[in-house]
């Protein structure tokens, strides 16, 4: 079976969901005639036409809010943010309206919307375009947040997200779109990956590397280096979904390895890994042979300078060094 890239896996999932449900509509900046700023929606406008794949003006608060309103009437919009950083200009709509309308209506309303786009640093586009807001949105009850690391998961989670009846914020990664390391063999028969289920991406016995998004790829590469150069057997747990969160898989891994290093592109303060660390200390304290350590982004706005930004976000060297600090 040939490898499919992350971007193409997303494209296939979107195409299949457009075919499955006439209420699915893709809306975003440059998603239609331009074929997508990152080519995730390439060919879909040509195939499905103006009604199903819609170019929006640069007006995130307006069109994201519009999509939320339409979803209350049963439309199932899949909204692209060219960068998930742009969520910050639509924040009121994404939090006060999408997340809270069900609660404030006493459960009378639901907003089955997907907001998707890349949420990552590492591309030298400066602080405004490099945010990783999965921790921020996962802090909001009513929202679901997923961060797939591989093409297989991107495909399966996208199909689950579109079929989910709650708002799902789907965070991708520009560095993974065309990265063969994130490519997967994808069966021809359709499948879904459930939201809220983590996966052990690599078995190991000495330490658990717990990560999400591109940090999973970094962790897998670090695990290989640890094996080759240090003789350390690292297990890699891919959270895949931030909220809901699969705590069992995390705790089972820690129970097995007795050590955890959390790899997280978030900034450290209240980042996703802070939640994971709290969970481990609360529920697996007796399993631990060492403190839970983290590799996060260095705690400053995203650096522009290309070689320095590589050091700001988690990389293989930093993960290996942190693991070796466990002693």
């Amino acid at each position: 079976m040939p490898q499919m890239l992350y971007r193409n896996a997303l494209n296939r999932a979107l195409d299949e969901e457009l075919a499955r449900d006439e209420n699915v509509v893709i809306i975003g900046e440059e998603v239609a005639e331009y074929n997508g700023a990152y080519k995730v929606t390439e060919g879909l406008w040509k195939k499905w036409g103006d009604k199903r794949v819609v170019d929006a003006p640069i007006s995130e608060a307006g069109f994201i809010g519009m999509g939320i309103g339409a979803s209350m009437l049963g439309v199932r919009p899949v909204m692209e943010l060219m960068f998930f950083s742009f969520a910050y200009v639509a924040f009121d709509q994404m939090v006060n309206n999408a997340a809270c309308v069900r609660y404030m209506s006493g459960g009378l309303i639901n907003a089955p919307i997907v907001v998707r786009g890349p949420a990552n640093g590492g591309t030298n586009v400066g602080a405004t375009h490099s945010h990783t807001p999965e921790n921020i949105f996962a802090n909001v009850p009513g929202l679901k947040v997923v961060c797939p690391a591989t093409a297989y998961d991107a495909y399966g989670l996208m199909k689950s997200a579109i079929r989910d009846n709650d708002p799902v914020y789907f965070m991708e990664n520009t560095l993974l779109y065309g990265d063969p390391a994130a490519g997967s063999e994808i069966p021809e028969a359709e499948f879904t990956v459930p939201i809220g289920v983590a996966e052990v991406k690599r078995e190991g016995s000495d330490v658990s590397l717990i990560a999400h998004g591109r940090s999973v790829i970094v962790a897998l590469q670090a695990a290989e280096q640890l094996r080759e150069e240090k003789g350390v057997s690292a297990e890699v747990v891919d959270l895949r979904s931030i909220r809901p969160l699969d705590e069992e898989t995390v705790l089972a891994s820690v129970a097995k390895t007795n050590r955890a290093v959390l790899v997280d592109e978030n900034k450290p303060f209240c980042g996703v890994s802070a939640q994971i660390a709290a969970t481990i200390q609360e529920k697996a304290f007796d399993d631990l042979d060492a403190p839970v350590l983290r590799v996060t982004s260095v705690d400053a706005p995203a650096m522009y300078s290309p070689p320095v930004e590589k050091e700001q976000i988690p990389n293989v060297r930093r993960v290996v060094e942190r693991v070796m600090q466990l002693g």
């Binding site: 307006g62 939320i68 009437l73 709509q93 069900r102 404030m104 699969d246």
Partner: protein, 357 residues
């Protein structure tokens, strides 16, 4: 007859000529019910029975009642936080609304929304929204949904004069015109965005709705205290939405007697008592309509007293209902957060959704 209608130039609009005497009395009853409901809510808010804010609609009743009276089964309504009038006008009951103010489980939102967040999707009423202009893209989305599904309908999206300066509203106007969406933005201009007058908050030429010119959106402005005028102008907008799938901005001048909310400590400082009294004496929508119906010979004082008494009794009964209703149980805090969890689906059972102890 002409003399009687001199103050109501739109009485002869087709949509108003179609009103029977009973219809006209029913409109009066709706306005009186809203007024008495809110007076009761104010009384018990001041008695400490409710939390949070209470944004009262008293003085503006004709705008919601007049415009919503035209809505058909495929027309949808959404507004901001001053939402009690719209809620009752769409047919929500006083009991569920009063109980919501009391924070009771029998409230329209099970005590989870409060005064600013009433909803009744079964009556095409989509809230009740607390953030100024935050509802304007949602209203656009309702219109988008109607058009997407090929349904001939409209979204009536209400906003205050203070909302017109929010970016979300301007973005919504751009999209409404760009994509030909059947949305009617109804600016209820009561002159003050909280304590700041229109003159101190908005750049405008003749009126706020005129901003539609910048987007090529049809707009109109009218006297909000006059039910005939509200109905006539709303009908034009609805026909544009239904027939041409095009947006409209309507602006109705109106006035609120109370502060921005009951918690508005400066309610009597930024407006003179004379200004408030002038409106009450000359433009009170209930008095104006009541006098109009008397002039038309279809209402006498006895009928008015009867419906007024009924409204007061209904409001008092809703207070009793709210008083006697239970509060939600703290165990219900995490209900109504996720559809999938509430419905017990596989997705709702997969992974941890809530992170408290």
């Amino acid at each position: 007859m002409l003399d009687q209608l001199a103050g109501h130039p739109h009485a002869d609009a087709e949509v108003n000529r179609a009103l029977s005497a009973d219809d006209k009395v029913a409109l009066l009853r709706q306005m009186v019910r809203i007024r008495r409901f809110e007076e009761a809510s104010l009384k018990y808010y001041n008695a400490g029975k409710m939390g949070g804010f209470l944004h009262l609609y008293i003085g503006q009743e004709s705008v919601a009642v007049g415009s919503i009276s035209l809505c058909g089964e495929n027309d949808h309504i959404i507004t901001a936080y001053r939402d009690h009038g719209h809620a009752l006008a769409v047919g929500m009951g006083m009991d569920e609304c009063m109980a919501e103010l009391y924070g009771k489980r029998t409230g329209c939102s099970k005590g989870k929304g409060g005064s600013m967040h009433f909803f009744a999707p079964d009556k095409n009423f989509w809230g009740g929204h607390g953030i100024v202009a935050g509802q304007t893209p949602l209203g656009l989305g309702l219109a988008y949904g109607l058009k997407y599904k090929g349904i001939k309908g409209a979204a009536l999206c209400y906003l205050g004069d203070g909302a017109v300066n929010q970016g979300a509203f301007h973005e919504s106007l751009n999209l409404a015109e760009l994509w030909d969406l059947p949305v009617v933005y109804v600016i209820e201009n009561n002159g003050y965005s909280m304590g700041t007058s229109q003159e101190r908050s908005s750049a405008f030429q003749n009126c706020l709705a005129q901003r539609g010119d910048a987007y090529g959106i049809e707009w109109d402005v009218g006297k909000g205290h006059d039910l005939y005028e509200v109905r006539a102008k709303t009908q034009v907008a609805l026909e544009r939405a239904h027939g041409e799938c095009r947006p409209t901005i309507l602006e109705f001048d109106t006035y609120r007697y109370q502060g921005h909310s009951v918690a508005d400590a400066n309610a009597k400082k930024y407006r003179t008592p004379e200004e408030i009294e002038h409106y009450k004496q000359n433009y009170d929508p209930i008095n104006v309509w009541k006098n109009q119906l008397a002039a038309e010979g279809i209402l006498d004082e006895g009928v008015y007293k009867e419906l007024d008494t009924e409204a007061k009794e209904e409001a008092k009964a809703s207070v009793d209902f709210a008083e006697n209703s239970p509060y939600p149980n703290p165990s219900e805090l995490t209900d109504d957060v996720y559809w999938e969890v509430d419905e017990g689906t596989e997705a709702g059972k997969t992974g941890r959704h809530f992170f408290h102890d």
